[in-house]
């Protein structure tokens, strides 16, 4: 199994995430798509770690950091969505436009 296969697979995941972020109207679904993109990045880290630099495990360490940051991002994102829902009774990103103009 060569490195390019993993890279192309993670490119597919990343583009799926991009598509989701652009298309979805629900803020929760946008967060889900961001999860997809971060996982694509994680696959890249681990694949490079195995195939390019197998003795150092640097990719593993970075993946752990990414996972920790991801957990923080999800917690804050969910809190913001919850708060926005309380104030506007909606989590449609098209309705949350108070900061426009």
């Amino acid at each position: 199994m060569c490195l390019t296969n993993y890279l192309i697979l993670s490119a597919i995941f990343f583009c799926l995430g991009i598509y989701g972020v652009l298309v979805r109207r629900n803020a929760v679904m946008i967060l889900l798509s961001i999860e997809l993109m971060l996982n694509a990045a994680n696959i890249n880290f681990v694949a490079f770690s195995k195939y390019v630099d197998p003795n150092m495990l640097t990719g593993h360490i970075f993946t752990i950091f990414v996972i920790a940051i991801e957990a923080a991002e999800v917690a804050v994102g969910l809190a913001i969505i919850l708060s926005a829902y309380r104030h506007m009774k909606s989590i449609n990103v098209e309705d949350i436009n108070l900061m426009k103009w």
């Binding site: 890279l7 697979l9 598509y19 929760v28 889900l32 997809l36 999800v74 809190a79």
Partner: protein, 173 residues
């Protein structure tokens, strides 16, 4: 190369393609399906397939972490959020906006770009080494040795984010 090595090579290739197919199908469903609860469940399967891919990359510790944190915690968190904010029975609301065509074009062009770059680049792949078995111990030593400063920073960021999340989500008077 003896017969065992060939067998394990074939099996790991098969595992990669099966896991990749599951991941792609579930990823497509996550971004297209209308029902939010179904989307979160497909995300769980997608994350499990990524954990499987980590195993094919000999990163068993990360696979376990992936299952614990993502499938165990984050998916449940999303479920709670959907229950708190979204009326599941209300299916009349359209889930996508009018940018569908443009989004497909953007994602497709980006994919072609990445694909071209990945194909064109010559990664200096190291020779495959013998499998190192004490991965977890080495990761632990690296985290608390060479990478101790980023490790502490990340834990601080996580703590700050958790406190911030509690403050934001609290009911204001």
């Amino acid at each position: 190369m003896n017969i065992d090595a060939i067998c394990s090579l074939v099996l790991s290739n098969m595992a990669f393609f099966v896991l990749a197919a599951i991941g792609i199908v579930c990823g497509v469903l996550v971004v297209t399906v209308r029902n939010l609860v179904h989307a979160v469940l497909f995300l769980a399967v997608f994350l499990l397939s990524v954990a499987g891919l980590f195993i094919t990359l000999e990163a068993e510790f990360l696979a376990i972490i992936q299952v614990f944190i993502f499938v165990g915690a984050i998916v449940v968190l999303f479920m709670f959020l959907i229950m708190l904010t979204y009326k599941v029975s209300d299916m009349a609301v359209p889930q996508g906006n009018r940018l569908k065509g443009a989004a497909i074009v953007v994602a497709g062009v980006l994919f072609c770009l990445i694909f071209y770059i990945m194909k064109a680049m010559k990664w200096n792949e190291a020779a495959p080494v013998v499998t190192i078995t004490d991965d977890v111990a080495r990761i632990g030593r690296l985290l608390l040795g060479q990478y101790v400063l980023p490790f502490e920073l990340v834990s601080f960021v996580l703590l700050a984010a958790l406190i911030g999340a509690i403050v934001i989500a609290r009911k204001g008077e």
